[in-house]
């Protein structure tokens, strides 16, 4: 009798302990302290935690679009990539670049609430995402429903952004971080491309400044890309981007630092940064950057 009771208790304890670890959340390698050296083969020049740290928000498709819209510059369909160009993108590398480019365009479209263009773009993005086995993270159905019914535009932005964040996380978890970095490069070049087109048409000093300050972001991006320079496609992309970076050497950025001021109003605490950045860039340099960015971006869409 006692033996049976002990056996039963042991079984229940075993079951409860397993149940505890099998809770709602999915365990991944991040949950355990596994030395990097024991994980699968990965480029080792920069540790994955550092990459993880650097990769956060290097380039967001939403912010550039928000800046442009905030300046009351109207939407222009000619600035975004033609979805037919997707047919030129055949390899995983090309699809990842395309995913970034069309993802940035989607941010621009969403920001201006051009829902009629959304379906075409999300269909293209879904197809490219499927091509690199991450389509399951792109919430095509929800996006399609929201765009078709012209539902809450905030949800469109939220789901688009979350889909891209999940794709990014999954690629890094499955040791395909190089594709994640390539997507980021695609988002970045397209954001800069749109800014360059706006700069040509609108001649707004804030847009010129936005283009100039990309020098800072480009340094982080090049560091990320250089970690995967062993891949011939990434090496070629680096070489194209280096041509842009060379032009940025003529852009000088100076800073004046001030203490941030906290202001509480209606229960909302706002910290107002008091630093000043000044971009020193000649018109010639700006025009050279614009031309080069447009040429590199167009080349990427040729495949």
């Amino acid at each position: 009798m006692y033996r049976n009771v002990i056996l039963l208790i042991a079984t229940v304890l075993l079951a409860t302990s397993c149940r505890f670890f099998d809770s709602n959340r999915n365990l991944s390698k991040e949950d355990f302290d596994i030395p990097e050296g024991l994980l699968d083969e990965k480029p080792l020049e920069v540790a994955s935690e550092v990459i993880d740290d650097m990769i956060q928000n290097v380039s967001s498709p939403v912010e550039m679009a928000a800046i442009i819209k905030g300046l009351k510059i109207p939407f222009n369909r000619d600035y975004i990539a033609n979805t037919k160009d997707m047919n030129n993108l055949n390899t995983s590398f090309q699809k990842a670049v395309g995913l970034g480019i069309y993802g940035a365009d989607l941010g621009y479209i969403n920001m201006y609430e051009r829902t009629s263009l959304v379906i075409n773009h999300i269909t293209t993005i879904k197809s490219l995402a499927d091509g690199i086995q991450v389509g399951q993270f792109f919430d095509f159905n929800s996006l399609s429903r929201i765009a078709t019914n012209r539902e809450n535009i905030d949800s469109l932005l939220l789901i688009s952004q979350q889909s891209f964040n999940r794709i990014d996380s999954y690629l890094r978890e499955t040791n395909r971080a190089h594709l994640s970095v390539v997507i980021i490069a695609g988002v970045w070049i397209e954001g800069l491309y749109i800014a360059s087109r706006v700069a040509e048409d609108a001649k707004h000093p804030r847009i010129d400044e936005t283009i100039g300050e990309q020098k800072v972001i480009m340094s982080s991006l090049m560091l990320l890309l250089n970690n995967y320079k062993g891949d011939p496609n990434v090496a070629k992309l680096i070489s194209d981007f280096e041509e842009i970076q060379a032009l940025y050497k003529d852009v000088r950025i100076t800073y004046e630092y001030g203490e941030p001021i906290p202001v509480e109003k209606d229960g909302v605490l706002t910290f107002k940064q008091n630093d000043t950045q000044t971009i020193i860039m000649s018109d010639e340099t700006l025009n050279n950057i614009i031309k080069k960015v447009q040429s590199v971006r167009n080349k990427l869409l040729i495949g």
Partner: protein, 145 residues
């Protein structure tokens, strides 16, 4: 025999139902945090999971913030842990913003940050008094300035 059956039933209820009914997932926290952020546009989420420690352990993330944008940082704690999260925003070594103001002892579920310089910034998360905790931080865009 009846006692064994009761014990078995009680153990199953205790082991299964208690965990699944009350545990808050990261997705739940992101959703709650989204409500705290109100109508700001979602940009990025950060999951913070730290053990107890003295000094309090810190989890760090880097982000690039852009000039001319008002950002909102929102935080949300899991009820399954004691820890209450504190977010601090740094630029190199300067503290620029925080959700916990030491002088007033006040905690803010979200704070806004008017960015005037494009560049890399660092988010430091820790739990008050080094208690163990699970929390989510959200970065969102409020408006351009």
């Amino acid at each position: 025999m009846k006692n064994i059956f009761l014990f078995f039933l009680f153990s199953i209820i205790l082991s299964g139902w208690t965990v699944t009914t009350y545990a808050q997932s990261e997705d739940d926290l992101i959703e709650i945090c989204g409500m705290i952020a109100q109508d700001a546009t979602f940009l990025k989420d950060f999951t913070i999971r730290l053990d107890a420690g003295d000094p309090p352990p810190i989890q760090r993330f880097s982000v690039i913030l852009k000039k001319g944008i008002k950002y909102r940082f929102s935080v949300c704690n899991s009820n399954d842990y004691e820890g209450r999260v504190i977010l601090q925003l740094f630029d190199n070594n300067r503290l620029l913003a925080t959700t916990y103001v030491v002088a007033s002892g006040k905690d803010y579920p979200s704070i806004d940050y008017d960015c005037s310089k494009t560049g890399a910034y660092h988010l430091f998360f820790n739990f008050k008094e080094g208690k163990p905790g699970l929390a989510v931080g959200l970065l969102s865009l409020v408006e351009t300035m």
